[in-house]
Amino acid sequence: MDFPKELKYHKEHCWVKVEGNRALIGITEHAQEELGDIVYVELPERGSETEQDESFGTVESAKAISELFAPVSGHVVDINDDLADQPELINDDPYESGWMIEIEMSDTSELKNLLTADQYKKYIEEEKG
């Protein structure tokens, strides 16, 4: 399973790509595999706020509906409109075309609460038990 080194990871299975004070967010390869075929994504509106560890939307698969938890706090500057018609992008390409939202971070110090690729990989192995 692929967990790119340059990304940071949240325990609720979102990845973060940091560029300055901007953060691009999506769900991990592991998360999409656990969910199975994703059929619908509910994302926040542009201009809304996210708070670290709080729900920012939901993702629905043939198995279940799961909440999405924000890895960082901030202002939603962009959302991936393609997901409305092609939620399968999350399954096919979770780290690139399957991205979900872009946030202008309000507190970059929150990034220290996130995991590295190696830490995240270890974390999900432990979670599996």
Binding site: I38, K63, A64, E88
Partner: protein, 530 residues
């Protein structure tokens, strides 16, 4: 597999009724009108008039009958075979329920009929409220909610209304991670916030976990007992005490009440509000998603907040009314009657009405449903309770639990059982052992159809990875359970490819569920005529 009831047979293809249309065909011969012609455009604004109904089917009576009979033969119900859909209690619905519901006095009654002409219907509702109160251990019951989820909403609105009235509204409700998804949804819909809490390693909630989150901004807890792992929440009383000590209420989702029937009462465990799914525990049809019924029982403190109208039985003077109809107690002499609200007036229907609707209830959360709930469903549940009696209901509960444990023990050699302990009405497996072979929960569910069984609930509860949730109910005998266990064991040993590509004997094979959800075709249009 030749001994299994699942087989192939002559199953008819059948188009949509629109596609059966042939110009000029008629099912009825309308007699010539004996009143003068009125042109629609003279009496109806033209912008509301349709000039053409595109694709309106023109079919004969035999076309219609064959259409629906053929489609009905594609179906699978509990009248066809075992339906072990966990958390849904798909028990057999005795046909006597249908007989009673079809009595003209019930079937042809009208909700606008005056009370004086609806006394039998009101009596049935009044008595059903009392029976459900007795069975669940609550003080009062409303029959209005049209389903379990509406019952949950009703309960949450009452709890919120209670705290609003005290002048100190509370905002949070504690919900364990084994809860049905409707629980947090109902909390949110009632304007409250769900606070998740994790179950302990034994699959049940611990008092400590509740203690850690319970505070004076928390309206209460929403708990399901037995929970969705089919396990009895053994700490329910301690948990109730913790919640009560901080002034909160305990709501119980009664979806799994079948396991407790006649054995234990939620009210005695400290539960303050409970909804009961008549279409589960009390053998009324699930009927294609409705209508169901989710009556809600409450303890005294919440009684003023129940939806209106309430049904009351008037204190009657036996001299004036020589034929009073006392509620036959469900069990012994101890069965209590509800005390009557004071100050009711005679109202419409006059003094001859024994049962009346009361609308004057200032703290009530109001109406939840048009008229008085899904009355036809209430009649069936009433018939079931009266036919079973207290001993029969207890027996149903006992057999449901015995059957689930029998299935659990029968299958744990072939399927991973994450919580290996005695269960209540259902047991939950995972596909851990089968994944190693190359097939998963969904494949197993699909393959079961080939053996003639309805699939169990899959991928719920979420606390079990790739769950297979089996609830046999009390309706199956030992031979039926043995057949199911044997089919499940065979599947576990089958060639992965055979399971992965199942079902093979159904009218259509494996459907693309993801595509159906991503690109649903919800409406027939003439352009898609096939």
């Amino acid at each position: 597999m030749s001994n299994y009831i699942g087989t192939t047979g002559l199953v008819m293809n059948e188009p949509l009724i629109f596609e059966r249309s042939s110009e000029g065909k008629r099912g009825i011969d309308v007699p010539k009108s004996d009143v003068g012609d009125v042109r629609p455009e003279e009496v109806i604004p033209t912008d509301l008039l349709r000039t053409n109904i595109e694709g309106f089917p023109e079919v004969s009576e035999v076309d219609v009958v064959r259409h629906f009979v053929r489609i009905s033969q594609w179906n699978y119900g509990v009248d066809t075979g075992m339906y072990p859909l966990g958390s849904c209690t798909m028990k057999y619905n005795p046909k006597v329920n249908e007989d009673i519901a079809r009595l003209p006095g019930f079937a042809r009654t009208h909700p606008y009929q005056p009370e004086g002409l609806s006394q039998g219907a009101l009596q049935l509702m009044y008595e059903l409220e009392r029976y459900l109160a007795e069975i669940s251990g609550m003080d009062s019951v409303t029959l209005q909610p049209a389903a379990g989820a509406q019952g949950e909403l009703c309960g949450m609105l009452m709890m919120a209304a209670y705290f609003s009235k005290t002048g100190k509204p509370r905002r949070k409700v504690i919900i364990p991670d084994t809860a049905h998804g409707t629980n947090p949804a109902s909390v949110t819909l009632a304007g409250l916030t769900a606070v998740p809490v994790k179950t302990g390693h034994e699959g049940i909630l611990t008092p400590d976990a509740v203690m850690a989150v319970m505070d004076e901004d928390t309206a209460g807890i929403m708990i399901t007992n037995p929970n969705t792992l089919g396990l009895f929440e053994r700490h329910i009383k301690e948990i109730s005490d913790i919640v009560h000590k901080k002034g909160g209420f305990v709501y119980c989702d009664g979806a799994n009440m079948n396991a407790l029937l006649g054995i234990a009462r939620l009210g005695d465990m400290g539960v303050d509000v409970v909804h009961m799914n008549l279409h589960k525990t009390f053998s009324t049809p699930h009927g294609g998603g409705g209508p169901g019924a989710g009556p809600v029982g409450v303890k005294k403190e919440l009684e003023p907040f129940l939806p209106i109208p309430r049904i009351v039985k008037k204190n009657i003077n036996p001299v004036t009314f020589p034929h009073p109809h006392p509620t036959p107690p469900l069990e012994g002499e101890g069965a209590k009657e509800a005390p009557l609200p004071q100050g009711e007036d005679e109202g419409e229907g006059g003094s001859s009405c024994i049962y009346k609707f009361i609308y004057d209830s200032p703290d009530s959360i109001g109406r939840l449903r048009a008229f008085y709930g899904n009355f036809g469903v209430l009649v069936r549940a009433y018939a079931y309770i009266r036919a079973m009696g207290p001993e029969g209901l207890r027996k149903a509960g006992e057999m449901a639990v015995l059957n689930a444990n029998y299935v659990k023990e029968g299958l744990k050699s072939h399927y991973h059982l994450p919580y290996n302990q005695p269960c209540m009405h259902e047991c939950v497996f995972s596909d851990k052992l089968q994944l190693e072979k190359g097939f998963n929960t969904l494949d197993i569910a699909k393959r079961l159809m080939d053996y003639g069984f309805h699939p169990p609930t899959v991928y719920f509860p979420l606390v079990v990875h790739d769950a297979i949730m089996i609830e046999p109910t009390e309706s199956e005998d030992k031979a039926g359970l043995d057949g199911f266990i044997d089919a499940m064991k065979r599947i576990a040993e089958e060639e992965p490819e055979l399971v992965r590509s199942a079902p093979h004997k159904t009218r259509v094979g494996r459907l693309d569920e993801a595509k159906a959800a991503r690109k649903p075709v919800l409406r027939w249009r003439p352009s898609v005529k096939g």
